[in-house]
Amino acid sequence: MATISLHNIEHSYLARPRGPEDWALKRLDLEWLDGGAYALLGPSGCGKTTLLNIISGLVRPTEGKVLFDGIDLTDRPTDRRHIAQVFQFPVVYDTMTVWENLAFPLRNRRLPRAEIEQKVAAIADMLDLSGMLNKRAAGLTADGKQKISLGRGLVRSDVNVVMFDEPLTVIDPHLKWQLRSKLKELHQRTRRTMIYVTHDQTEALTFADKVVVMHEGSVVQIGSPLELFERPRHTFVGHFIGSPGMNVLPCAVDGGAVLFAGQRVAVEKPPTAAIGGRRTEIGVRPEFVTLAQAGIPVSIVKVSDAGRFRIVEARHGDDRIKLLVEQGVAVPADTAHVRFDPAHTRLYADGQLLE
């Protein structure tokens, strides 16, 4: 177990990178504390897999250092970093039994038989695999196989970190819940450092204590799920997290007043310093927009029944505003007024939260 530090890391897949677009990862410093449950969240192409491969040693960063407990491992190969990885598609030896699959990493390390027996039994118990240890892996379903992959990643006690790369992508929604709960429980019981890479916000937010959000090769925010939801520091985070994402609406700033649709909008923190020529927007989540008697006039474009609630899509001019409405609340058919909750309405300049 170790604290992993990434020190001034930059990476390009090109031999001679020139412009900023040539860098898959832009300069970043990150620290992964021992025993933490982390998620690395971002759309495809944001650099999250590159970052994962730098930690595991599959990719050597163009610049910067990788430290495990302060020791520079930048040039140490993957197999000497003591890392366990679980991939998107289950990696299972079909001809082996479930027990042999789980024991494989331990046998490779020539652990005594008794210790292997004990560790495999413990991990099988945690994953509800005890009843099928003598079965051939070939006959298992996709989620059964992925459980074995998870088990193999977790069976060793000498690993510094367990990394999961989109481990639930091939699993049906109703089984995702079970496996995700299992993973969370395993973290709570083993306190291994875990890094979970995903593009799926629900998976990231429910698994991790700290979520690292990436966009175009940079880390845009690191925070708890609550911080990312309540106070996105960048409009990208506001849009990317939450379903539907945060409404981002162009606004004008006149002294201390914020104006949208020709009306003054109360924001949590009114601007104090000069905005200059920066592009200003207000950000407010659909959860904090309500139908009201007065306020911003909108036309109702669409009402979707999401089961637990309804998603109302409204328009003011060219701006689209989404709001969540509970079942049973009447939604006017054509025009209405909406109101933003001032405590949850934020002001952004050039995409950055004004704090």
Binding site: H174, W177, H199, S224, P225, E230, S243, S304, D305
Partner: protein, 355 residues
């Protein structure tokens, strides 16, 4: 103007993949096939397309019996989960390929491809080849090809499954709009209940080769005809238990009972199956008919905007999902509240008797 399956059966050897199924699909709105992997969705689509002949029964289209008519002789488009494009052709030629087969004049091809590319927002990519596109752009290319020829029947087999979460959300919004001005019968298969809810239209729930219910999506969701349909159409899974009706009271356990709703009054006393969706159990008593029960917390998933609590009540393993952040300690016993107004009751055969 419809697609109709009349008592269709599909068997392979001794195995029945699709049991006796009759279904009428209209041109208005999407027709969703909702079910887990291997439920029979893809087989149903192959029967509709004529890619597979039924073992028994008939397929009718617009009042014509098309059973046994090869897919090439019918005007059908398909999009699969694994987006398939011709790697050596440009995006333009990929989209134009069905029109080339029809020997359409070049000017008409140009017009159509450009219009459809605008619609799915890949117009700037037309000169590129598929490998130069992101996954989302490749899937849009495949969609554009399916849309360009004005097919009578469009079959979309989990077309969003391999896409990033946010892109999936965006395309889910756009897709129904793309078909608004068309006269195709559109069938969309998915494992995700949220896809079905937000795409609207009609939904058929599929389980083990049978369609358990077919109707307007919101109606199937809010009033499932049987427990299996309720289970297929709930994510997280619907909570179930056996309860007893004792005169005017419903008894869940020694400590938990509530007044039977009016619809239950005429029914005999005895055991019933209870179904209650996770969002109707909350750690806060906010409902009119909030019935308290205690739950031992197994897992707590806090996503920033929502709390999902997996808990145990006696031998029951249930899930509660509620708005807001409710920090609870794993292992402790906490009070929870069931909104029994939204409880569903099923008889011994699993048929809905009161909701």
């Amino acid at each position: 103007m419809t697609l109709e399956l009349r008592n269709v059966v599909k068997s392979v050897g001794a195995q029945t993949h699709i049991h006796d199924t009759s279904l009428q699909l209209a041109r208005e709105g999407f027709n969703i096939l909702l079910g887990t992997t291997l439920a029979g969705k893809t087989t149903l689509m192959q029967l509709m397309a004529g890619l597979e002949p039924p073992s028994r029964g008939e397929v009718w289209f617009d009042g014509k019996n098309v059973t046994g008519v090869a897919v090439q002789k019918r005007n059908v488009s398909m999009v699969y989960q694994q987006f398939i494009n011709y790697p050596n052709l440009t995006v333009f030629e990929n989209i134009a390929s069905p029109l080339r087969v029809q020997r359409m004049p070049q000017a008409e091809i140009d017009k159509r491809v450009n219009r459809i590319a605008e619609l799915v927002q890949i117009a700037p990519m037309l000169r590129r080849r598929p490998h130069e596109l992101s996954g989302g752009q490749q899937q849009r290319t495949a969609l554009a090809r399916a849309l360009v020829k004005d097919a009578d029947l469009v079959l979309l087999d989990e077309p969003l499954a391999n896409l990033d979460f946010k892109l999936r959300e965006e395309l889910r919004d756009e897709l129904p709009k793309l078909f608004l001005s068309r006269h195709s019968v559109v069938v969309f298969a998915t494992t995700d209940p949220m896809d079905a809810l937000l795409l609207g239209g009609h939904t058929a729930t599929v389980r083990e080769g049978r369609i358990t219910q077919f109707g307007p999506t919101a109606a199937v969701y809010h009033r499932p005809a049987d427990l299996i349909t309720a289970q297929v159409f709930s994510n997280p899974p619907i909570n179930t238990a056996t309860v007893r009706k004792q005169g005017p009271t419903i008894v869940l356990s020694d400590s938990v009972r509530w007044p039977a709703k009016a619809a239950l009054a005429p029914l005999p006393d005895g055991p019933y199956l209870l179904g209650i969706r996770p969002h109707h159990i909350s750690p806060v008593a906010k409902h009119r008919a909030a019935t308290p029960l205690d739950g031992q917390v197994q897992i707590a998933e806090l996503s920033g905007s929502e709390s999902t609590i997996h808990f145990r009540h006696g031998s029951l393993q249930w899930v509660s999902q509620s708005h807001g952040m409710h920090a609870v300690e794993v292992g402790t016993t906490i009070p929870l509240f069931i909104d029994t107004d939204h409880a569903m009751y099923f008889n011994g055969e699993g048929r809905l008797v009161a909701a």
